[in-house]
Point group: C2
Chain length 241, copies 2
DNA sequence: GCACTTTTTGTAAACGATACAATTAGCTAT
DNA sequence: ATAGCTAATTGTATCGTTTACAAAAAGTGC
């Protein structure tokens, strides 16, 4: 609340062995789903350190930028994607994790439909590519750790948070939904039982429409009702896939 | 693979265009349990900003200090307590959360037996005191937010992690264990059913001993077996109170 | 021994999860 | 139009877990 007047800072007078000589970054773990495949977006570094290595997209946070805002900006710069509502997972702060100085990094993640975004390599990257989570190359910094923690977070959160809405079209079939869960959690669900569970979740509303142009019996479409979901959430009802 | 040659670091050559002028801190949310009461340790600030306000114990991280190490150190300095295995919860990074500059803070928490530690106010604190979580005063900075998030974390983690071992004696009764859960989660368990659940958890070992000096039927004592717990954890068995 | 308190064991009903099977609906080819 | 195909959808029987509630047991103190 106290809108503090920031003192004019002369950078060169900052005591060099004191505080206020550190930086922080955000690293974004963007999981991409498409047709039963889970991938993660990696860039190939074009600058030292770790030049040529694969790494998570991430960047330093501006001194006058909120952490969450920074995560959105960095993601935006790298993927052109907005409103991803990434979630903060954990902060990594080993002293020697960054060779150029003291940098702690805050990890964020999101899950998106792979085909809907067009990641473009920014100036400091040689390449940018989706990698299957089953085959992750050696990564720069401690990014392997970060990635793994985020994968854990994804798997545990997708059961309780509607992360999957980012991956499915507005109107989707229950089989499509089931496939997302099976892919992310690497396990099989029984078709009938999965439907029964969904039936108990009143925020998944059955539509009158069905699929068209399929070579078999078309499935009825469903949509996610955010308002009802929040209601459920408030009411303390357990909602878990 | 590409072991990048780390350039010799000369701090003065780091491009100072706005980065590397921030600091980070850790804030410790120490929950104290004693006889069906849950409290939290707060200090009363003795220096500006927020002089006189209650706040979470926390401090800046040294530039050459790991984040987790710093949390332990700060806690040690304030409570004389070691080996608390605090858990990182979340990082708070609003631009204006600290009036003196850009400081993001990483929140850690732990749960301990109130009577076993003797918190002492350090130089920069006027007072240090346990406050019931039911009556939290106005707090400095964004510490109220931090406290609330940590309380959520405590409640969700205690079901899966043996946090309660810090609160009970080595040998304890199931009723004592039940009381911890009832206090932290603010809900009642059925005595019989609680015992049945515990019976399924083989890492809670029933001892031959019983209570003594009680004016009623003595309860048999139990102890927690860390090794068996980790085994269970590994085996993927669900362990949840 | 009797009253008292709390532990400990037991049970029946309710509920939810699981495996598996049967039925249905639309598409395509003939 | 009809048969064959595929996948959606519904149904069911079993099993295991949770829940509420009650009865029995084991100490203590009078």
């Amino acid at each position: 609340m106290a809108k503090s007047k920031e003192p004019k800072k002369d950078l060169y007078t900052i005591p060099i062995d004191g505080f206020f000589q550190s930086a922080f970054s955000v690293d974004c773990v963007i999981f991409g789903y498409h047709e039963k495949e889970l991938k993660v977006l990696l860039i190939q570094r074009g600058t030292s350190p770790y030049e040529g290595d694969w790494a998570l997209p991430g960047d330093l946070v501006y001194p006058h930028e909120d952490l969450d805002t920074a995560a959105d900006r960095v993601l935006m710069e790298l993927t052109q994607l907005e409103d991803m509502s990434m979630l903060q997972v954990k902060t990594f702060g080993k002293v020697d994790r960054h060779p150029l100085g003291r940098v702690i990094t805050v990890a964020y993640f999101a899950l998106v439909e792979l085909q809907e975004i067009s990641p473009m390599a920014s100036s400091w990257a040689n390449d940018i590519k989706w990698h299957s989570v089953k085959r992750i190359p050696k990564l720069a910094f401690d990014h392997k750790d970060i990635l793994m923690e985020c994968l854990d977070a994804l798997r545990s959160l997708i059961k309780r948070e509607p992360l999957w809405t980012r991956v499915l079209p507005k109107k989707f079939t229950l089989t499509e939904l089931q496939e997302v869960f099976e892919t992310v959690l690497v396990k099989k669900y029984d078709k009938g039982n999965f439907r029964k569970k969904v039936n108990g979740m009143k925020f998944l509303k059955r539509l009158e429409e069905s699929q068209i142009n399929v070579r078999h019996r078309p499935s009825t479409l469903y949509k996610f009702d955010q308002k009802l979901f929040l209601q459920y959430r408030e009411s303390g009802s357990v909602v878990e896939f």
